[in-house]
């Protein structure tokens, strides 16, 4: 029987996994930008004075929140092209799935931030005859966003840990690299253990940093 843990396999795996880690990180950053943008959009639509817009966006948010990211990725990559008759790139589908899914979580975070801006600030900006766009961009958001940065950071790390799901649309992130190596060489222990360790190595220090940032921001 072959030895249980092979260091040769580890040294062969490492470059492949680092390649995969690069893809994982890039996908996470791109997905987070989408989530940040759509999260803000969702939060603003939810606050819309029009009841229909507010209710409809609430239904969309709840629907996305109540269904698994995995199935959403399937839907965007395999089903949507059948409906709109356009081929969708796997990177685009993966980033969109990750981004839209987390946009629903981030919209809650934005909402908390926006609710914390004192009412007087809205009234003052109306008294000064600011337009709607000006009120949002120059008065409300600059005060709403800094306090929620650490919470958004936590969602960034959560997103990072969910990227392996995109293995189902053959996105070459870390887990796919591990799986390919594992099945080619029958070395699953090393492959999956190392992916786990790399995730730990990347996510633990960053969550520590965000926790420190949180205490720092709370002290102000």
């Amino acid at each position: 029987m072959a030895e249980k843990w092979s260091w040769t396999a580890v040294s062969e795996l490492l470059p492949l996994l680092l390649e995969g880690a690069k893809t994982t990180v890039i996908i996470t950053i791109a997905g987070f930008l989408v989530a940040g943008l759509f999260g803000l959009l969702f939060a603003m639509l939810r606050r819309s004075p029009s009841k229909i817009v507010s209710k409809a966006s609430g239904v969309v948010i709840d629907f996305i929140r109540c269904t698994p990211l995995l199935v959403q990725a399937f839907f965007l990559y395999f089903a949507l092209p059948e409906i709109i008759h356009v081929r969708i790139d796997k990177y685009a589908a993966g980033i969109a799935a990750l981004g839209l899914h987390y946009a629903t979580y981030l919209s809650e975070v934005y909402r908390a931030g926006i609710d914390n801006v004192p009412k007087g600030q809205w009234e003052a900006s109306r008294a000064l005859n600011f337009g709607k766009a000006q009120t949002w961009l120059r008065i409300v958001l600059p005060q709403a966003i800094p306090p929620i940065v650490p919470v958004m950071g936590n969602y960034f790390i959560m997103m990072f840990k969910e990227t392996p799901i995109l293995i189902v649309i053959a996105l070459p992130e870390m887990l796919l690299q591990a799986k390919l190596y594992g099945s080619a060489n029958f070395r699953y222990i090393e492959a999956y253990t190392m992916v786990g360790l790399i995730f730990l190595l990347l996510s633990l220090p960053s969550s520590y940093l965000f926790r420190r940032l949180e205490t720092k921001l709370n002290r102000r």
Binding site: D62, V71, F75, I165, A178, Y188, V195
Partner: protein
């Protein structure tokens, strides 16, 4: 039945498997949450460190990776016969969400006012009585909404188990799709199925959140 819904009966057994897997892993996660959450508050340093190690390991890496690890690495490493997929899935999900749940338990117990502990010491309660009769009943009320949200996340996470060949709804959808090629209808139904199961949980959690804070400052 109209077009997409004639597919619904094909999902039958998959729905049952999803619910079974969710129930099994939720039960494990619930027990683990309390055990790990309380032992992180223990006076014994060794116990605190061991649980902290467990919690950080499972929260710091990815659930799908953990599932693959239990399924394909664990049994080889410990020279067991290969692990049944259902067990590997329930273990990975239960231990992963248990790690998140333990933080809920820990923060809720810590949020119970200090005076309650002092009062129960003054009344000559033992540590066990204090936990069981004074602290936990109050902490439990605070935990409920967070546990509700965690349960929704856990339910969605069971879809990952399809990737280690557990025949849940998602797995069934893929199988049906491989023979019928009615992709858009199949995945739409799958999304709706998850929504129908998770949405009542979401409403219940929100309802409780509103009611628990009503009339209290």
């Amino acid at each position: 039945m109209p077009a997409p819904f004639d597919l619904l009966p094909l999902f039958g057994k998959g729905i049952l498997v999803t619910l079974q897997l969710a129930a099994a892993s939720a039960a494990l996660a619930f027990v683990v949450s309390f055990v790990a959450g309380l032992s992180r508050l223990s006076k014994l340093r060794v116990l605190r460190w061991v649980t902290a190690g467990y919690v950080e390991t499972f929260r710091g890496s990815s659930l799908l990776v953990q599932m693959f690890w239990f399924m394909y690495a664990f049994s080889i490493l410990f020279e067991m016969r290969s692990m049944p997929p259902f067990l590997a899935g329930a273990l990975a999900i239960g231990l992963n969400y248990g790690a998140y749940g333990s933080e809920i338990v820990r923060s809720a117990v810590k949020a119970v006012p200090k005076g309650q502990t002092e009062a129960s010491v003054a009344l000559n309660f033992t540590a066990f009585q204090r936990m069981r009769l004074v602290i936990l009943p109050q902490a439990f009320r605070m935990m409920l909404p967070s546990f509700g949200n965690l349960l929704i996340e856990l339910l969605k996470a069971t879809s990952l188990a399809s990737l280690i060949t557990i025949g849940d709804m998602t797995y069934r959808a893929n199988v049906i799709n491989n023979t019928l090629y009615r992709t858009e209808e199949i995945y739409l139904i799958l999304l709706l199925l998850y929504f129908v199961i998770a949405y009542p949980l979401l409403r219940l959690t929100r309802w409780y959140e509103r009611n628990a804070s009503a009339g209290r400052s």
